[in-house]
């Protein structure tokens, strides 16, 4: 079976002053893994190490039991990568760019032709295929980047914020597409948009300050906070006070009242509150929100 084993990965910057990854270990099997964590958690570092753009200080990554450093080209043949905030060749058309990436990925001409046609259709860029990338909007560039990551039908797919800049319709399409293809791939999807992974992720990896906080299915993780997510109704003037004291994930107004979604296990009884079903955003807040009441923040 396809496995990617990450063993005791350590990475520091600035001569050890900044710990980007700290003894990070995990074993991945086919499916979508959502990588969640605040800024500076180590998500990009992890992805750069897997894609050999960065060298770890120590630790190993094993692909089917074999060290990826020793595999070299062989590992890169099965890798698909979509980085975040990636520049492109402005003077290349989307079509030419995908052909170029196919060449880099070692695809034969016939295979490349089929894949490019298919992927342009998937990402809805068939009509713009012969336009220059410099004229593409941010969302269109994102789609080109997704397309290129899938050219070689990778077994390991690393996607960094794949839906950033996409409209809701496109986002849903891409999300569903990733879910479809992930059956026999290991997909690591780093995102801040938790809804991207809520329904498609096999497991969610929570990363904070370089350390693995949790790695479990969405259901299991959410079950931990099932009893502590509430909708609290307060007056407009009280919301600020509420925000200062508790982790508030959502606020919506209804006339003079404000309904706030709060994650806390120590809400006072006098507050008008209703228990609600927890979601991944609440989980994120639970793990990475500010430690206000000294109890609700897990990590």
């Amino acid at each position: 079976m396809l496995t990617l084993e990450i063993k005791n990965l350590n990475k520091t910057y600035k001569n050890g002053k900044v710990k980007a990854l700290c003894n990070f270990s995990i074993t991945l099997t086919p499916g979508v893994y959502g990588l969640l964590g605040p800024n500076g958690a180590g998500k990009s570092t992890l992805m750069n190490i897997i894609t050999d753009n960065l060298r770890a200080d120590s630790g190993k990554i094993l692909y089917n039991g074999r060290d990826i450093k020793k595999l070299g080209k062989e590992f890169r043949s099965v890798l698909g990568y979509m980085p975040q905030q990636q520049g492109l060749y402005d003077d290349f058309t989307a079509n030419r760019f995908l052909w170029y990436m196919s060449a880099l990925k070692g695809l034969k001409r016939k295979e490349a032709k089929e894949k490019i046609t298919e992927l342009l259709k998937t990402v809805n860029l068939t009509k713009s295929a012969h336009k220059k990338l410099g004229s593409f909007s941010g969302g269109m560039k994102q789609r080109v980047l997704i397309a290129q990551s899938l050219l070689n039908n990778p077994e390991i797919l690393i996607l960094d914020e794949p839906t950033a800049g996409l409209d809701p319709k496109e986002r849903i399409r891409i999300r569903n597409f990733i879910s479809e293809i992930a059956e026999n791939k290991i997909v690591i999807l780093a995102t801040h948009v938790v809804s991207d992974i809520e329904f498609i992720a096999k497991e969610v990896i929570l990363l904070k300050e370089g350390s693995l906080i949790a790695c479990d299915t969405t259901e299991n993780l959410l079950s931990q906070i099932d009893d502590i997510v509430y909708e609290v109704t307060v007056l407009s003037g009280e919301i600020e006070q509420l925000e200062q004291k508790y982790n508030v994930s959502n606020i919506f107004r209804r006339g003079d009242e404000v309904i706030a979604r709060v994650v806390s296990d120590s809400l006072p009884d006098e507050l008008r509150k209703t228990k609600v079903r927890a979601n991944l955003e609440d989980l994120y807040l639970f793990y990475f929100g500010e430690n206000k009441d000294g109890k609700s923040e897990k990590a």
Binding site: T51, N53, Y81, N95, R96, W99, M101, L104
Partner: protein
């Protein structure tokens, strides 16, 4: 103020910039010291000279003059004393003794001094020092006459009213007027050498231009490339305040480097040759006789620094203008290189036309060269009016600085960030839509597209090929250097090729002819029937023939004798035009100019191949692919070498083709030992083989340069930075070495040229391979910055 600070930090915060300034500073001083050691001034880098000059500069002029006169007289007598040892006859010896006795009578003190010098041992250096001091004394004494003559000339011309509207006429008066203020100045003896050596040193300008250019890269290009210019321009102070801050920062940096570089040279000069008195009148230094400025040395040095600073400020403002207006970095580099090269060429040109004078004297290199700019009074004709070059240059430079700064500021503030695109008419769009890229699974196709289309190398390649073709249509002129070259060429046209019996007979006949001619001179001289004038005319006529045709035949005869000797050694010796073929194989000027040219062409084409991947971080995307490391590197390298080979052919082939067109291929198989200059060459290497070996040497040097540029591209990851560093490390050394005939871009023609060439080639190729491996390692093992 804050904005200026931040703009300065953009430049000074770059480690590479600071390292470069230090490196250039040290190289500049190192080069200055090296040139001084190899110049005729090196004899003055001596404690004794410094002590002597110190002693005499502290005396009054009259006292010093007297003592110097005595010393030089003593040396004069001493040299006569030494020459007595060379007397071959009694009469000669008596003549010397008579001269010495006369000296003894007229200059007893000097005579005693010479005897003392004789006893202590002849010191050539000391003699040279006193002759230098004597020269100073004579110069100082002649100065009032020099000034007086200007008035005389002006006065004498004023009698001819016909030419009053003439520039020359007005120039005479202006010159006299401008020098009038110097009539009462007091000149003094002192240490001239540090002043002249520091002020005539010109190479520092190249380093300054490179540093100024790099400053412009950081100030005007960095924001564009990092896309922060959009952010900056959208802020409150993002327009006029920002661009003003940039220019102020640029000018501060320019002035700072001018000051430290100049100070470094003056300090080095003082260290080598001793201190110099800053209070001395500048005209006390004979090199500045033609300076009309009433300044002392200290003031003159400050003024020269200001002139250099103004030249550099002008360069800075022009570079800034180019960076602001144009977005293509290669284009900016090319234009800048062309401008600087043109300035350099015009400054050094020997063209003597009024038109070329304007560009020769209104020139940044000229204004930086204070030994000429301030040291030599020159007026240029502006509508027949004599205008001083200093005033004109300062005026023109100031206007240009202000103009370029203002245009830059206006353009920066008003320009839109969008690129204007040409909108094609509908029919053309439809035609264009028919020609879509159909696809290729070869990396090289993508790389070729990037190189030829994106980087516009297709146009560039077409232009250089066209220029090469046009250049090869030229005919090469015969290299006439001496008066006897014309008859020599005529001889060679008759004799070129195998040594036949007919040719030997011809030479014999010519030999007899010239022998008779020589005897004729004697006969005429002894012929008492001819008048002195007639004799003179006839002898002069014959001498003219002997000096030209006779001299040419002597060369031919020597060549013939050498060929005979070579034949006995088993070499198939042939007559060959030595002037032509020596120049064909071995012209160091052409060698260096070609090398500089091809490096510049490579700088336009090569850096983009690798730096394009770092510009938008595409490297992050392509390296995690199967072929994104070594395979991609070698594919890119093949593009580089395709460009290099094309450029090599375009630079070197036209000369060869023109040569064949102009002079044919008859002597190409002749062994080069038949040419006098190459007589020490070992083996039977032919002219053609020597030329081809040269080409191999040059190609290996070019390949090495190409690999150096590739390495810089990968290590620096920035196009413009690569251009600047490559210019400093590759182009500038070639320009600086070029005047030195001993250092060559290929192998030196001495002894076993074949072995020498293969050594040069092997070393170059080996070094190129090492650079290739280093750059491959860096490219494939690229580590993101933490």
């Amino acid at each position: 103020m804050k904005l200026i600070y931040y703009e300065l930090m953009k430049v000074l915060g770059k480690k590479i910039f600071l390292i470069l300034i230090c490196l250039c500073f040290l190289l500049n001083i190192g080069l200055f010291c090296f040139l001084q050691q190899t110049s005729e001034n090196s004899i003055y880098n001596n404690r004794e000279y410094k002590a002597i000059i110190n002693r005499f500069s502290q005396m009054s002029f009259k006292t010093a003059e007297q003592k110097i006169s005595e010393e030089t007289k003593a040396y004069e007598i001493l040299s006569v004393m030494r020459e007595t040892a060379l007397a071959e006859t009694k009469e000669e010896l008596q003549e010397y003794i008579n001269v010495l006795n006369k000296y003894k009578e007229e200059n007893p003190r000097a005579y005693s001094a010479s005897k003392r010098l004789n006893k202590s041992g002849f010191d050539k250096k000391r003699e040279t020092y006193f002759y230098e001091l004597s020269r100073q004394v004579n110069y100082i004494n002649s100065y009032p006459k020099f000034i007086g003559e200007m008035d005389k000339r002006a006065f004498s011309q004023s009698e001819f009213s016909v030419f009053k509207d003439n520039f020359s006429y007005r120039n005479l008066f202006k010159t006299a007027e401008d020098f009038r203020g110097l009539k009462q100045i007091k000149l003094s003896i002192g240490n001239d050498i540090p002043v002249t050596s520091a002020l005539s040193y010109k190479f520092g300008d190249y380093f300054l231009i490179a540093i100024v250019f790099l400053s412009c890269v950081y100030l005007f290009l960095q924001d564009k490339e990092s896309l922060t210019d959009r952010l900056i321009r959208s802020s409150k102070k993002g327009r006029i305040e920002t661009i003003s801050a940039k220019f102020i920062a640029l000018f501060i940096i320019t002035l700072f480097v001018c000051v430290i570089f100049s100070a470094g040279i003056f300090t080095a000069s003082g260290y080598l040759y001793g201190d110099f008195d800053l209070t001395r009148q500048i005209q006390s230094v004979s090199d500045f006789q033609n300076c009309n400025l009433n300044l002392n040395i200290g003031q003159f040095c400050v003024l020269s620094l200001l002139c250099r600073a103004i030249s550099m400020l002008l360069s800075a403002s022009i570079f800034a203008l180019l960076f602001i207006i144009f977005s293509n970095t290669s284009f900016v580099y090319l234009i800048s290189a062309l401008l600087i090269s043109s300035e350099y060429f015009l400054y050094n040109s020997a063209l003597n036309t009024t038109f070329s004078d304007y560009f020769k004297y209104i020139n940044i290199f000229y204004a930086s060269d204070s030994s000429c700019f301030l040291g030599k009074y020159i007026n240029i004709s502006i509508f027949n009016e004599p205008v001083s070059v200093y005033a004109l240059d300062i005026l023109v430079f100031s206007i240009l600085i202000i103009l370029s700064t203002v245009i830059s500021c206006v353009y920066y503030c008003l320009k839109a960030n969008e690129k204007t695109k040409i909108v094609l008419p509908r029919p053309l769009v439809k035609i264009k839509d028919c020609f879509h890229f159909t696809g290729s699974a070869h990396i090289l196709n993508g790389e070729r597209y990037k190189f030829f289309w994106v980087n516009k190398m297709l146009i560039f390649s077409a232009v250089i090929v066209l220029l090469a073709v046009l250049s090869s249509l030229n005919t090469i002129e015969y290299p006439y250097l001496n008066a006897d070259d014309v008859p020599y060429k005529a001889y060679m046209e008759k004799l070129e090729g195998d040594l036949t019996a007919d040719k030997e007979k011809f030479i014999e006949r010519e030999n007899k002819y010239f022998k008779k001619l020589n005897m004729r001179v004697e006969d005429i001289d002894n012929d008492e029937s001819l008048s002195v004038q007639t004799k003179e005319v006839l002898i002069n006529t014959i001498n003219r023939i002997l000096e030209t045709e006779g001299s040419a035949f002597e060369r031919v005869n020597n060549q013939y004798k050498r060929l005979k000797t070579l034949n006995t050694e088993g070499i198939e010796a042939k007559f060959i035009d030595e002037n032509l073929y020596a120049d064909f194989i071995n012209n160091s000027e052409r060698e260096w100019v070609s090398l500089v040219l091809i490096i510049l062409l490579m700088l336009v084409s090569v850096p983009f191949v690798f730096t394009v991947e770092y510009k938008r971080n595409m490297i992050n995307l392509i390296q995690p692919t199967r072929n994104g490391k070594s395979r991609l590197y070698f594919d890119k390298l093949s593009i580089v070498f395709f460009a290099v080979i094309t450029e090599f052919i375009c630079v070197y082939a036209p000369y060869f083709i023109s040569f064949l067109k102009s002079f044919g291929a008859n002597s190409l198989r002749t062994p080069i030992v038949c040419i006098n200059v190459f007589k020490c060459a070992v083996g039977k290497i032919s002219v053609l083989n020597a030329f081809l070996l040269n080409m191999l040497c040059y190609f290996s040097a070019v390949a090495l340069s190409a690999m150096a540029i590739v390495m810089f591209s990968i290590f620096l990851k920035n196009h413009m930075l690569t251009l600047v560093i490559s210019t400093i490390t590759l182009v500038m050394p070639c320009i600086l070495i070029f005047p030195n005939q001993l250092i060559r871009a290929g192998a030196i023609f001495c002894g076993n040229y074949t072995l020498c060439s293969f050594t040069v080639i092997s070393v170059s190729i080996l070094t190129a391979v090492i650079l290739m491996l280093l750059s491959l390692k860096k490219f494939t093992n690229r580590i993101l910055k933490g």
